[in-house]
Every structure is written in C-alpha cells, then in structure tokens.
Amino acid sequence: MYVAVKGGERAIDNAHRLLAEDRRGKTSTPDLTVDQIREQMKLAVDRVMTEGSVYDPDLAALALKQARGDMIEAIFLVRAYRTTLARFGSSLPVETGSMKIDRRISAAFKDVPGGQILGPTFDYTHRLIDFKLAADGGDPEEAISMDDAMPQARHVLDLLAGEGLVETPEASQDQAPPGDITRTPVEFPMDRSTRLQSLARGDEGFLLALGYSTQRGYARTHPFAGEIRVGRVAVEFQPEELGFPIQIGEMEMTECNMINQFQGSKTVPPQFTRGYGIALGHGERKAMAMALVDRSLRAGELGEERTAPSQDEEFVLSHCDNVQATGFVEHLKLPHYVDFQSELNLVRKMRRQVEDGIAFAGKEAAE
C-alpha cells in the first residue's frame, strides 16, 4: 500500500546531525581551530573573503571550517551573513598607489622605480611534494627582511601614462559614485564600476577559464602583466560631522593592471589600454583573470567587434556568481514530480500518435 512520503521533518533533522558528524571526522583527531585555518590556509581564507565580499579573515576561516573546506559553501555562508550587517557608511576609495608592498612585479619592464619585489610566491618553487610537512616540518627558516619595512612605489602604468602611451581611466566615471549590485538590481548594459564589482565577486574558476580563452584566440587582447602588487592599504572613513577622514584600519589586497595592445580607432590614436583586477588578501590568479575579462568586456566601448563569450557582457556577468550558479544547478535535486509528471503524459501522448501513424502507414502499405 502506498503511503505518501511523510517524515520530511525527521529526515532533515537527522541529515543535519549526520552532516555535523561528518564535518568533525574521527574524534580521535584533534579539532581544527579557526586560528589554524586563518594562519595556515590563508589563500583559501582570502578567496572566501573576496568572493564573499567582506574583509574578515576570522569569519572566512570559521565559514571554511563549517563548510568542511568547500569554497563555494563557505563563500555562501559569508554572503548570507554579510547581508544581515547594518551599513553605516562608505569608506573613501583605497589608494593602492600608496600600498605598503609585500610583493610587486612588472612583466613589462626589466626594472621599475621601486624595484621588482618577489615576496611570498609559488612562482619559482618546484612542485615537489614536501614530505617533511607530513612528518612535522618544524618552523621554516627565517627569510631575510627588506631594508625599510614595507616599501611604497608608484603604479607602473602611471609612468607610461605621462607619455600618453597608456589610456588614463575615464575621469567622468571617477566622479560618479560606484554602483552596488547588492543594493540595486542589475541592469544591462552595466557601467564599468558595477561590472568590476560583479567580476570581483565572480567565481575564480569561471573567470580563469574565460581569461584563458582570450589568450587562445577567442577575443585576443594581447595582454602584458603591467603590474601585480600585493600589500596592505589604509582604509579611511570620513564621518559627516567630522569633515576630515580618519583611518579605521588596513586591508591586504592584490591588484593587477594588464596592459593591452590597441590599434586605435578613428578618434583615438594607437595606444595601450587597460584591464583591471583586484582581490581581497592575496589572490593573484583571481586578479589577473579578472583583468583579462575586464579588458575583454570593454570591446563595445573601444569599438571592437564582439565575437567571443568573454566579450559578451550579459553572458559573463549573468553567470559569474558562483553562489547563484551553484544554487540553480543544485536545485535540480529538489523534487520536480509535478513537472516531470506533465512531461511524462506529453511524451506518452506523442509516442501514441507516432505509433498510430506507423500502424496506419503499415496498413496502407499492406492494402
């Protein structure tokens, strides 16, 4: 006898208990602390902050612990928390030009004022599994510290801008307050500030693949990594009643300025154009991919023909948010009995028609 699927409530409660057990793993292994995650899984924490759109390493580390290391789940937790926070104002734009630098490289010039600073990077490591880490690697050797703590340097692109070889960012847009997709509904076409916000929150993997596609001929933009810098920037806030800004803290950020070749148009002489990428914490891959896609999306503005996915604003920006994407893909797990029933009936009806048709044709042929 059929009994309707009851007990959803009990099943959900028990599923939550199983999840909590699985998250903890074997209790003979010590529980992971949020401090350990924040200090030793820093790049994961940084990605959760960037795509979760909130600078809070402790919160991101906790989200990673709760999400069992699933990045998108952790990003989702942070986003859902973020929407409940009250806003008391906007900071002034952070000045990345006066960043206290940990790492700063330019692939366009052999040397630049302020110097090339490698900093902590995987770039020149050999990817050999370090088994010492498994057997208690101990504390690492101390690195040689730089002469003056945290140097500062001008943007490499500013040096070229003086000659007019590189475009200067559009001044008119600089004056307008930047858009905010978390407070106003998205409209297409998007202005560049809103577009950059979407990309900054966008999925690293998705942007990486799109950026990669531009290097393989789908909307080629001839990019050079003009500058990548990682370091700490001051965050300033100007309370209305005070009349002057006060520094309320510091954030670590990664910024990428791509330089791209541009043939020029009827009104603009040939010059280099820019693609811009930024991430919270240390996130070079994200910042670079974002810069490639940003430049690609400027096709319309620069009068280039749009032929590739990376140039299609609606395609890129409607699908780059991984919290939205994972939600809609995974919602297919929810029951669809009713729709499927409707389709079942339809396919049966259509099959009957086809079978009747075949029978009729057979009968005619036999006659």
Binding site: Y2, G8, I12, A80, F188, H331, P335, H336, S342
Partner: protein, 294 residues
C-alpha cells in the same frame, strides 16, 4: 517591529529581513500589483537558503508577513516535502507565526510548482517561487532584448513558437510554465506550475505574488485579473486529464502524481495536493486503491 530571540540566543528582526529591505521589497510589490504581469527588478538579498530553493518567494513572504498571519507552505502540492518543511520551519523560527496544512485556513500560502486544488478566497495571498521569471527567455536569452519585446508588446516570437509546436506535433507541446497573458497586456510565466493549474489563476479571488530571487524580479496578479493561457482559435488551450481517479480519494478532477510501486513497475496515481486528498478521505471519499486494500 519586534525582534525574535531564538532558543540558540540569536536575534533576528521579525521574519528575518530588516525593515529597510522589507520596505524596498514592498515598494517593488506595489509596483508589480499596479502593473499586472510586469517584471519589476528588485535588489534581492542573499538569504540563508541557496538560490533555487525559493529565495524569491521567501523574500516576498518575509516582507508581507504579519504576526497574526497563518502560513502554509507547499512544494509539488504537498506540505510534507523536504523543502516545504524547511521553509515552514524557517518562518516558525524567525517570525513565530502560526502554520497550517489547510488551504482554507491559511492567510498566506507559499508554493513551488502547484496551485492548491481548492479555490482560494478573498484576503488570501499566494506567493510563488519562480526560477526563471522571463517567459521569453528560452526564445531570446538576452535581457536587453526581452525587456524591449515586453515594452513594445512584441510577442510574435512566442506565437511562432506555439505555432511551430502545432505544425510539428499537432498540439502545443508545453506542459508546465505554459505562458499566459495578464490583463490583456503582458505575457507572463506562471512559474513551473503544470498547465493544469493555469485556469485557476484567471480571475482568482486571492492576490498572487511571484518572487524570483536569483533573477531579482517580482511580479504580481491582483485579485480578479484576467489571466488567459495563450492558444489559437482552432487549437484552444486544454489542460491535462488522467484516465484514472486518485487511488486514495477517488478524485477525478485533480493533478495526479504517478508513483512506481514495485520492481515490476506497477503504477499508482494519487493527488499531488496532499491537503486536498486527506480532506476528501476524511470526508469519506475512497479511491480504487483504498477499496482494494480493504
């Protein structure tokens, strides 16, 4: 508005959303009611459930819920499917409102994929969870284009699609999310409800609100508004029909779910609307399945 303190010590505003957000959503709702069938963009928030789990409907419900409301939540017509249970629990927790499984006793019904079989009455609100609010989306993927098409009432593409169905199959091959025209102006997606439910939307006494969280759109059908399913004079709109009545309650005029009973593939047909089915059984109605079991 009061805040609700939970057992675990967490405090949320009544019905989770803060009052500023509710006000923003209510404004969108007012506009939606004023222009029936028009998709109003709204700044949808991230909710503590995933996109695709009904975040649009949940935001609409959270914005209009009042402390003395009686809430019913259904998914696939049933009150006891896992996601319906989860959403009902959410509002019990953050709003402390009374809940019910009875269609008649509810002041606010949040639904996914069905409209209750029992006709709704004045004063009730039906909130739909919507995945893709744009009825033209699968004909034209670009929002910039579809908004223009709505503005110019340029719906030829949709009629061509339906005509091509008839040319190929002899009938319109859309069984759910069947497009409707609202108040003789906007073509609207009724959310993925089966076309069986389309006639219930027409001149419905209840207010119907639609929320799409991921796509950030709200639309509405005010009470007693004309909602016409698209068709042709020589191919009029028709709803699904079943050869059998409901096995449990004997109903012949409800949407039936097909249940596979055993490895031999024995089928059984039962009402998808669980409240409708249990109410009828309590009234003494029996289906062929019940009689056989006795």
């Amino acid at each position: 508005m009061s805040t609700e303190t939970q057992d675990d010590g967490l405090e949320y505003n009544f019905a989770y959303l803060d009052e500023q957000t509710k006000r923003m959503i209510r404004r969108a709702l007012l506009k939606a009611v004023a222009v029936p069938g028009y998709q109003v963009p709204f700044a949808g928030r991230e909710m503590p459930m995933p996109y695709g789990w009904g975040t649009g409907g949940i935001q609409v419900t959270a914005s209009i819920l009042e402390p003395d409301d009686v809430l019913k939540v259904i998914d696939q017509g049933a009150d006891d499917t896992t996601n319906a249970v989860s959403i009902r629990k959410f509002f019990q927790r953050v709003a402390g409102v009374a809940t019910t499984e009875k269609t008649e006793g509810a002041t606010l019904i949040q639904t996914r994929h069905r409209i209750p079989e029992m006709p709704l009455h004045e004063g009730q609100i039906l909130v739909y969870q919507v995945p893709i609010p744009e009825p033209l989306r699968f004909l034209e993927p670009r929002e910039t284009e579809t908004r223009k098409m709505h503005a110019l009432e340029e719906y030829g593409l949709m009629h061509v699609k339906l005509y091509e169905d008839i040319a190929r199959h002899g009938h319109i091959a859309t069984t759910y999310a069947y497009p409707v025209k609202v108040n003789d102006r906007y073509i609207m997606d009724p959310s993925p409800t089966p076309k069986f439910d389309n006639p219930k939307m027409n001149r419905c006494a209840a207010l119907q609100l639609f929320g799409a969280g991921r796509e950030k759109r709200i639309y509405a059908v005010p009470p007693y508004t004309d909602v016409v399913s698209l068709d042709f004079e020589d191919h009029p709109f028709e709803i699904q029909a079943w050869d059998n009545p409901c096995s449990l309650c004997g109903e012949t005029n409800s949407f039936l779910d097909e249940v596979i009973m055993d490895d031999q593939g024995t089928r059984m047909f039962v009402c998808s609307d669980t409240d409708h089915c249990t109410t009828r059984q309590q009234q003494g109605y029996q289906g062929p399945g019940q009689e056989a079991a006795e």
